[in-house]
Symmetry: C2
Subunit: 189 residues, 2 copies
């Protein structure tokens, strides 16, 4: 196997990945990040977010491209279906976070992946947000399930171990499964 192939296993630049970890070990401040989104109400329950700038590695940074995301409700929930519902973005976030970890961890462990796909389901009883449950039903998802299909040049135990390690190191999994402080302030003028 060529050096190039080893450096870019699974499309992951492992040499740079390990160099980044070494740099962070030497200066922990590099690891402090702040991500940001700007949201604007359009009409009804339709809003639009823009994601571009963030802070990290001790400096202000910008993504290569600004991302614009619309959210709305479908007609059955009295919206105009201009985008997914807000809670559906949580499904993408958990799948993407776990998948990113799988790519990195497999590369670090010398495993070549050939396929990773996942389905995410989230069960929610809207009696909660409708205010019709007298507090019996929570507002958010009652249960979320992520099912991966993963294939590569390793045995089943190794592949399962990669998924499990990704779960243990996932930022989104942590935010969903554990309490995260969220402050909500309003400025009126």
């Amino acid at each position: 196997m060529s050096t190039t192939t080893e450096q870019f296993r699974n499309g992951v630049d492992t040499a740079t990945l390990f160099a980044t970890l070494d740099a962070v070990k030497g200066q922990n401040e590099i690891a402090k990040f702040q991500f940001r989104a700007e949201n604007t109400w359009v009409s009804g329950v339709h809003s639009r977010s823009r994601i571009s700038g963030y802070y990290g590695a001790m400096q202000e940074m910008n993504h290569a491209h600004e991302t614009v995301l619309d959210a709305d409700h479908p007609p059955v929930l009295v919206g105009n279906d201009n985008g997914p519902t807000p809670v559906e973005f949580l499904l993408h976030a958990i799948a993407a976070c776990l998948t990113a970890g799988i790519g990195n961890i497999a590369a670090a462990r010398g495993v070549n992946l050939t396929k990773v796909s996942s389905t995410v389901e989230g069960d929610i009883d809207l009696l909660g947000i409708f205010g019709l449950s007298e507090g019996r039903v929570r507002n958010g998802y009652q249960d979320m399930r992520v099912t991966f299909h993963i294939e590569g040049d390793a045995d089943e135990e190794t592949l399962r171990g990669i998924v499990e390690q990704s779960r243990q190191r996932s930022a989104v999994y942590d935010v969903l499964t554990n309490p995260t402080p969220v402050s909500v302030e309003a400025v009126t003028r």
Copy 2:
């Protein structure tokens, strides 16, 4: 004020909103929803989700349009910046959920909104996910802050009350601030 204007206050079809609440009161089963996403790994830490079908109102449903969402890491986190990071989608989700609630609640309370925008910040110390903190640093956001700017034909107390009510009824706020069960399974073959 015309009947039409009242029915569509803030772009919200309040007549249909109240009719929907009445229907759900009469048959709670209507409120049980399941949202879904399908994610496919592309390369490295880049993956792509598709959001289209869901279950709700006692039937299989589809959004008017399928939504395709890419997630990646920026170069500073050893990715190729093909989309926002997974954790940035959480910022959009909380802003969009609270904003949808504000639109609905203001309409229900007879308040005409003229502007709603928000900024969301999420602080994260990547020592956690890098595995360099010996468990001292959590994987996810340490703090998230949503700041709304809201304007409309109501006094400050009323506008603040709408934001507060939206927080209390937000599905995403609940998922972020309280523990949500997330199962992660792997199928290998």
